[in-house]
Amino acid sequence: MTMSLFGTDFDKLAATMVAREKSQQVHAANIANADTPNYKADARTFADFLAEQHAGGQQGELARTQPNHMSAVFSESSDGGVYRRTINSQRMDGNTVDLQKEMAKMGEDQLMHELSMRLLKGRLGGLSNVIKEGSR
């Protein structure tokens, strides 16, 4: 069971960041292979990785009032999730990497990672405030 000191939000933010980092890995692989003939771009997105994080754990369940709500269960699962590759090629060498798209998505991931980080930092700051004030 998670410590109530940190709360479930903490786990959620951590899972989000793990998912952002994994998605960054996919962008790196796609961009590195942007000139490899017949390379099929890895189409896994942040949402896939987040769902993967959801699927792995058993704790911190949130109420789901709609069937399309995501369940808020997190843990550090291994890479066991979806695996998709873009098949339609626009190029003559059979490569399916869209460099501009990858760059744009990477920028988004980077910013959202930073946002999660700031939120997490705020939480930690709050906790450390509590600890410091209590010791006076």
Partner: protein, 152 residues
């Protein structure tokens, strides 16, 4: 989880070194665009690189757990490497120049099958791809540094 960011930096670096090898070959082609003699005999033949996607080397713990659970890890990330450097089989350029020392009896000189415009385009493409990899690596680095700042 720093593992995944280090992994993406490794992938980016594989992309950078592949593009650099490509750039080396392009430089060689441009430098030898007029070379009519080689150690193998005959004019210089244009060379080009072949890129190949290879599964990124996994951390020991990942390999161990996938072996242990009996699941083949199908969702491998691919890094890139130069598989080999091949020669361009297209015919040599033929120029009529009887004064050239390597001209044949009809006065025709065989020059390398290097098209400098083609090489320039290729060079630009390699430079841009290299930059894309650098940007990716910078993004990973930034994410990593932000993580380190978390407890400041």
């Amino acid at each position: 989880m720093a593992d995944s960011l280090l992994n993406s930096m490794n992938i980016s670096s594989s992309g950078m070194s592949a593009q650099r090898t490509r750039m080396d070959i392009i430089a060689e082609n441009i430098a030898n665009a007029e070379a009519t003699r080689t150690s193998a005999g005959g004019p210089y033949r244009r060379r080009q690189v072949i890129f190949q996607a290879i599964p990124q080397q996994q951390a020991f713990s990942n390999v161990f757990s996938s072996q242990f659970s009996g699941q083949a890890s199908g969702n491998q990330l691919q890094s890139v490497e130069v598989q080999k450097v091949v020669q361009d089989p297209t015919p040599f350029r033929e120029v009529y120049d009887p004064s050239h020392p390597d001209a044949d009896s009809r006065g025709i000189v065989k020059l390398p099958n290097v098209n400098s415009v083609e090489e320039m385009v290729d060079m630009n493409s390699a430079a841009r791809s290299f930059e894309a990899n650098v940007t990716t690596m910078e993004a990973s680095k930034r994410m990593f540094l932000k993580t380190l700042e978390l407890l400041k």
